[in-house]
Amino acid sequence: MKHVIIGAGPSGVIAAETLRKVDPTSSIIMIGDEPEPPYSRMALPYYLINKIDESGTYLRKDAAHYGNKEIDVIRDRVSKIDTKSKCLSLKNNDKVDYDKLLIATGSHPVSPPIEGIGLPGIHSCWTLEDGRNIVNRAQPGANVILMGAGFIGCIILEALALRKVNLTVIEMGDRMVPRMMDQTAGNLIKDWCKKKGVAVHTSTRVDAIEKGSGDSLKVKLDNGEVLDADLVISATGVAANIQFLEGSGLETDFGVLVNDRLQSNIPDIYAAGDVCQGKDFSTGEYTVQAIQPTAADHGRIAAMNMSGKDTAHQGCVNMNVLDTMGLISSSYGLWMGVDGGESVHLCDNDRYRYISLQFEDDILVGAQALGLTQHVGVLRGLIQTKLKLGKWKNHLLKDPTRIMEAYLANTQAIGHNAGVI
C-alpha cells in the first residue's frame, strides 16, 4: 500500500506516524512546500520573542525522526491531482502516484481587499519566513499597525510589544477576538491591551495603504485618520488551501467536503486539518475548524481509515486558548449559547476575570473564560461527554467556578456514594 500525504503540518505528520504504526509495511510519502523541517505555526509567537530558536518550532525534534520511521519527506508543491490515474504532478514536474491520498494542505492568510495591500512592508504572520520578516522590520521605536484582532493578531501582540514598537491594532469587529469571545470578554481584552500601551481601534477598517517617505507606509482608516507605519501586519483571517484542487473532481466548499470517516467524494482520497470541512461535535454540521487539536484528531482518524481500520469521527469540539499580553482567554463549543438554553456569567472587571457557561437542559454545551489557567480542560470533558449535571447544574448557576467539583461529583466514587465501604 502506498500512502501519500500532501502537507507537512501537524495533521500530515500525525497521519504519517499513525499510518506507520497501523500499517507497518506500507510506503509513506509526505509532501510539504516549505523549506524547513515540518514545524508548528502555533510556536511562531514564541519564536518572535526569542523564547525558542527556529528548531524549537519543529514538530519533531529528532532530525532522523522521519527517516527512522521510513516516512519519505518530499519538499515540493503539488500542482495537480489526477484522480483517475491516481497520480500527483509536482511543481518540478515529477509525478507521484498513490493508493491512498491524504490532503492536509492547511490554510493560508487571506489578503483583505484593500488598495495597496501588495506594498513592501506589509506581511502576514503565518510562516517562519513571515516571522523572520517581522523580526527585521519590528525594531524598537518602529510604528507597527496590526490589521485584525483575531486569534493570530492577539497572540502576536505580546511578541510585538516586547520588541518595543509603537503598536496600533485595527479591528473591524466591535471587540477583540469576536469569533472566539463575547462582548464582555472581547472588550475586557481590549481594555487590557490599552492599559498595556497598545492603541486599539475596534469597529474600524483600513481603507487604503500608500507609500510614505522612505520605507514607511501611510495607512488610511475609514474614520479619516491617517497613520504612519514602518510595518503593517495583516492578520485578517485564513482560508483553506483548496485552490489546487480545482478541476480534480474533489468536492469542496470552505474546505474539502468529507464524510464521518474524513473521506472525500473520491473514495481513496481523505482530508484532515485546516483544509478539511469536518464534523463539529456541538452542531453536527460540517465546518472548517482551523485549530491544532482538530488537526491532530483528524490526522489520526484519517490515517486509521486510510489503512482500512474503519474509524468514525465523532466530531471535534471547537476550542481555543489565547494569551494576549499575559491575559489568558479560552472558549469552547457553543460559547455563544443556544436557543432555549440557560447561561451563567461571573465577571470581575477590575481583575480581568470572567467565566461564562452555557447549558442545554442539564448539559454543558459551551464555555468561555478569562484569566483561568487551572483545570480549564475539564470544560472540554464536561461538554464532550455530555455529562448530565443533575443538581450540579444549579450549583454551577450559583457559582460557575466550581467546574471541577461538578465533574468529580458526577464521575467519582465520593464518600458513601462509593457504596463499597
Partner: protein, 159 residues
Amino acid sequence: MLRSLQIEPEKCTGCLQCEMACSYQAEGVFNPSKSRIKIFSFHEEGRFVPYTCTQCTEAWCMHACPVEAIVLNEATGAKEVIDDICVGCKVCTIACPFGTVNYNQDAGTVYKCDLCGGDPECAKACPTQAITYVDSDHGGLERMRAHAAQNLPQDSAQT
C-alpha cells in the same frame, strides 16, 4: 510492572499533606497552589476528593502538543512535560478533558503530574492511604462496578 495512583476519596480527610509534598518535590516550596495533585472540597457533604492526572492511555495532552514537549516515560507510564521544549502555548491545558494540565504563568510553561519519576510523594505523604501507588492491574474494578451499579436506574440495575 506498571504502577498507578489509586485514589479512594472516602478515606481523604482534606489535610492537604499531599499538596504540600507535591509542591515541595516539584517546585521546592510548600505552596499548595503549585501542587500537581489537588484536593477538591465538598463542604455541604463534608467530603474531600483528591484528583490528579490518571496518565490516561489516550493522552490528549501529548497528542495535542504541537512541539513534542510532552513525552511518555516508558518506565512509569507517565506523560511528562519537558520544560525546555514547552513553549507555553497551552493547547494541552484545553485539550485534557480531565482538567489536569495547568499553566504556570510565572514560568511560561505547563505542568502536570509526572508520578515523581516512579516514587510519588503524595502517596507517601498521605496519612490515611487515600492515595496509594499500586500495580496498575489492581485497578479497583470492583469499586468501579459498585459505583456504576449505584448510578444505574433501578430497573436496569436489577437485570
